[in-house]
Symmetry: C2
C-alpha cells in the first residue's frame, strides 16, 4: 500500500462536468433513427413532443453537438451526491493476488441506490422548466422509480409511477421509499388506464410486466394536461446524462496519470455502460487512444451476445417508436433473473452501434457466478453491490485473475452502479443455495426474433 | 450559494485521525466504575477479560491517557469508507428560510448503514490480534450486527449474532446482509444456550428482548474456547472508537474557520453522540471554548430527561456488571418506537457524567414529529435518514427555525448517523398515517426505577 494513489479519488465540486458529452457527434456510423411504427418514417420532433419533454426531444435527436451544457440547477443537485468516488480496490487486489490495478466508479452512494439519479434530475428539471405539472413513468426493480421520485420532490413536480404488480407486492420497501418522496405508486396493470383495464380483462390475475407498465405510463402522460412520460434507460438522452460518470472517471484517472487498459460495465438498457464509456469510446473513434471495453450482460438475457441488430418494438405493448438495436425480440421473456435492471430485451441504439462497429465487445455471465463475485466483493471491499453491478465485478475479477496468470499490471476500471440493499431476496436465494441459472436455447431466441417487425431502413 | 464552503467537505485520507480521543482523561469528575454485582466492588481487568478482549478491557478502564493510537490495520479499513463527509445543508437552509448555517456529519455511506462500523472494526481487530477464533454479540434493529459481520469478514473471524426473535422475523433483509457477510444469525431466545432454553420454557412463544439476547451472547462467548463477547454501544471503549466522528468533524470545521454554536446528536446508548461531541466537550472542560451541546432522545425512552443517575443493571438478564448511569430501570420496556437503536433503558457512563456536570443538555422528541422532520429532510437533502438519526434532524430544524425568528446566523452541526433503507416499515406507518406517539407516565417510570439495585458507591 505504498502507492500514492488513495483508496478513494475524490474530485472537488468544481470538477463536476459542466457539459455532457454526446458521443453521437463523433460517431462515424450514427445510430439509426427512431421510426414511427405506422409510417415507417423517422420520428419527428413534434411527434415525440406529444409524449416527451421538448428539451429532451431535442437532446434525443441531436447527433451533431459533442457537448451539451449542464444547467446550473442540475449541477447544484449533483453537488449533493457528486462527484462520486473512483475507488482503488486495494483490498480486492490483495485478496486476488493480482498484479493488476483495479478501480471502480461507485454510483451507489445516494438514496436511490444507483446511477439513475444522474438522469432523473435532468429529466425532472426540463419538465419543470417547460412548466409541466408532473411526469409519469414505469418501474420494475424500483431504482428508476426511486430516483425519479427524489428528483420530482426536489423540483416540486407530481410523480406518477406504474410499478410492475409483482414488484409492487414483493418489494414493498421500494414502494415506501417512493411514497416517502411523495410519488403516487400504482401497481400495473391497474384499472386507472384503458390499456390496464384491457389487460386485466384479458389476463385476469396477471402480475404485470414492464411492457405493460410502459404502456400505462405513456397513456397516463398523454391523457393528462401538463404531463409527459419519462424513461430511465435505453434512450440516447439518458445515456447522454449518464456521461457524467465517464467524464468524472476520466478526470480522476488523468489526475493520477492512470491509463485504463480495460473498461467494464454491466449492460441492461445500456445507459450506465454508455455513460461510463462514452468519453473513452470518443477517443477510440477519433483515433487518439485505444482501450478494451467490455459490456457484461446476463446469460439469461443476452441481447448483445446472442441477439440480432434489427429494428424492433421498444415495449411489449408496441405503443413506442421502433428502434434499431441488438434485440432478442420484444416478446422475449427472460427467466426470473434477480438482476431486474438487466432484463430488457433490447439495447440502447448508441451502444448497439458501437458494438456493431467493434469499438466495444460483450460477454455474458451466469447468475450464480455473478453472486459468487458479489459476495466476495462485499466481504473484501465492504460494499454490498446490486445484482446488476455485480455482473461488472465478475468480469473485472476474471480479467484480474488473467493478469495473475500472465503477470501483466493492467489497469482495470469498472462501473459499480449501485447497492443491493433492496435485493436481499436475491442474496437470500444465493445464501440458501437455491439460486438457479438459466440460459435460453437457440430455438427460443430464434422464435422470439422471428416476431420482429420487417423494416428496411 | 456564493459561499465558498462546498456542499460536502471531504478530508484527505491522511487526515483520518491517527489516535482516538479519550475524553475521560480530561474529565474532572470521572465516570463511575463498573461494579461487580456480587461483591459490589469495581470490576477488575482480569474479571472483565473473561468476557471481553484484553486490549478492549484496557481501553475500557483507561481514564488517564487522552490519546490512544489507532493501529494502522484499522486505519486501512477506515480508508475504505472514511473520512466521511461533513455536509453543508444548503438546500435545507434555503427551504427553511433560516439565516443559520446547518452542517451534518454523514456516517451512513457504508453497507452497515451507520457509524457502528467505526467500533466493530476496532473490536474485531483486537479479537484477531488476541488470536481468538470469533466473537459473539446481540443485535436488535440490526445495524450493529451488520457492522460486526462486515468487520469479522474482513479479518476472517467467526461471528455469531443473537438477533431478537421479533426482529429476526420482521427484518429478514437485515438478517440476509449478515449472512452474506458470513455471520451465523440465531433468533433469540434460542434453544442453543442454557439461558435461552430457560426463557423459552418460562415464556413459551416469547419474541425475545435485547436483554435476553445479551445474556445468550455472553453465555455463548464464555462457553466456547477462543471466543469473546463484544458490544456496539454504552461501553466507554465504543464511545472512544466513535471519536473518529468528532475528530474529523472538528478538522473539517477548522479547515473553513467555522466555529459551531450548537452541536446535536441522537442518544440511545450514547456512543455516536459521545463520539461526535468528545473533542468539543474536551475543549469546554479545559476552559478553551464554549458550545451548546444537545442530546436528543425519544419521548418514549427518556433516560436523560426523565431517568435517574444511579447504579443499574446493564441487561435485563442481570449477567453484566452494574453501571452508574442515567437510567429508566433495567426492567423498563419502552413502547414499540421505530427507532430501535434508541430503546435502551440506560445511557453511557461518560455521557451521563457530562450531562450531570451540565456540559451537555438533553431534549426529548416524539416519534411522529421526528418522522415529519425525516420526510422533510429526505425530500430536500436527498438522503433517507434512519429513524434514530432523525431525532437529531428534528432538533436541528427546531434550532434553525429559532434563528429565523431571532435573525441569528448560528452554526448548527448535527450527526447524521445512518440511513433508513431497512426501516421502511416505520416509514410506511408514517406514510399511512397510522404512526402513534407514546410518552410514559411518571408512575410507570417510578415503578421501573424502584427496581434498581441499592448500591452506595
Amino acid at each position: 500500500m505504498s502507492d500514492t494513489i488513495p483508496y478513494k479519488i475524490y474530485l472537488s465540486e468544481s470538477e463536476i462536468p459542466t457539459a455532457w458529452y454526446n458521443v453521437r457527434a463523433d460517431m462515424k456510423n450514427k445510430p439509426a433513427p427512431l421510426l414511427n411504427p405506422a409510417s415507417g418514417k423517422p420520428m419527428t420532433a413534434s411527434e415525440l413532443e406529444k409524449v416527451f419533454c421538448s428539451e429532451l426531444v431535442s437532446q434525443e435527436l441531436n447527433d451533431t453537438d459533442a457537448w451539451i451544457e449542464i444547467p446550473s440547477e442540475i449541477r447544484d443537485f449533483y453537488k449533493m451526491y457528486r462527484p462520486s468516488p473512483l475507488v482503488r480496490a486495494y483490498c480486492l487486489e490483495e485478496a486476488l493476488g493480482t498484479p493488476a490495478h483495479i478501480y471502480y466508479k461507485f454510483e451507489g452512494n445516494n438514496t436511490s441506490g444507483s446511477h439513475k439519479l444522474n438522469s432523473s434530475i435532468a429529466q425532472a428539471y426540463y419538465a419543470k422548466k417547460q412548466g409541466l405539472k408532473g411526469v409519469t413513468t414505469e418501474t420494475g426493480a424500483g431504482q428508476w422509480g426511486t430516483a425519479l421520485s427524489m428528483a420530482c420532490a426536489y423540483f416540486g413536480l407530481d410523480c406518477q409511477v406504474y410499478m410492475v404488480k409483482v414488484s409492487y407486492e414483493q418489494k414493498p420497501f421500494r414502494r415506501e421509499v417512493m411514497r416517502t418522496y411523495g410519488a403516487k405508486v400504482t401497481p400495473s396493470p391497474s384499472m386507472t388506464t384503458e390499456v390496464g383495464r384491457k389487460i386485466n380483462a384479458e389476463f385476469p390475475g396477471t402480475t404485470g410486466s414492464l411492457g405493460c407498465a410502459i404502456s400505462e405510463a405513456v397513456e397516463a402522460a398523454v391523457s393528462q394536461e401538463g404531463y409527459r412520460y419519462v424513461l430511465g434507460s435505453v434512450l440516447s438522452q439518458v445515456l447522454l446524462h449518464q456521461t457524467v460518470i465517464g467524464l468524472e472517471t476520466k478526470t480522476a484517472l488523468d489526475k493520477y496519470n492512470i491509463t485504463p487498459d480495460i473498461i467494464i460495465g454491466c449492460a441492461g438498457g445500456g445507459s450506465n455502460l454508455g455513460g461510463l464509456i462514452s468519453p473513452f469510446a470518443g477517443e477510440i473513434i477519433r483515433g487518439e487512444k485505444d482501450y478494451q471495453i467490455i459490456a457484461v450482460e446476463p446469460a439469461s438475457c443476452p441481447s448483445l451476445t446472442r441477439g440480432k441488430y434489427v429494428y424492433d418494438f421498444c415495449d411489449t405493448g408496441k405503443v413506442c417508436p421502433l428502434a434499431k438495436m441488438y434485440t432478442l425480440g420484444s416478446g422475449y421473456i427472460p427467466a426470473p433473473n434477480h438482476a431486474g435492471g438487466l432484463r430488457y430485451h433490447g439495447m440502447s441504439s448508441i451502444v448497439s452501434q458501437l458494438y456493431d462497429d467493434g469499438i466495444i465487445e460483450a460477454r455474458s455471465v451466469k447468475q450464480t457466478e455473478v453472486f459468487e463475485a458479489a459476495q466476495k466483493f462485499a466481504r473484501i471491499e465492504g460494499i454490498l453491490p446490486a445484482p446488476e453491478s455485480s455482473h461488472a465485478i465478475k468480469v473485472a475479477i476474471d480479467e484480474a485473475l488473467k493478469c495473475k496468470e500472465t503477470g501483466e499490471e493492467k489497469n482495470i476500471v469498472f462501473g459499480l452502479t449501485g447497492t443491493g440493499y433492496f435485493d436481499m431476496v436475491a442474496y437470500q436465494s444465493f445464501n440458501d443455495g437455491t439460486m438457479k441459472d438459466y440460459v435460453p436455447t437457440d430455438e427460443e431466441i430464434e422464435a422470439s426474433l422471428a416476431k420482429c417487425p420487417k423494416v428496411d431502413a
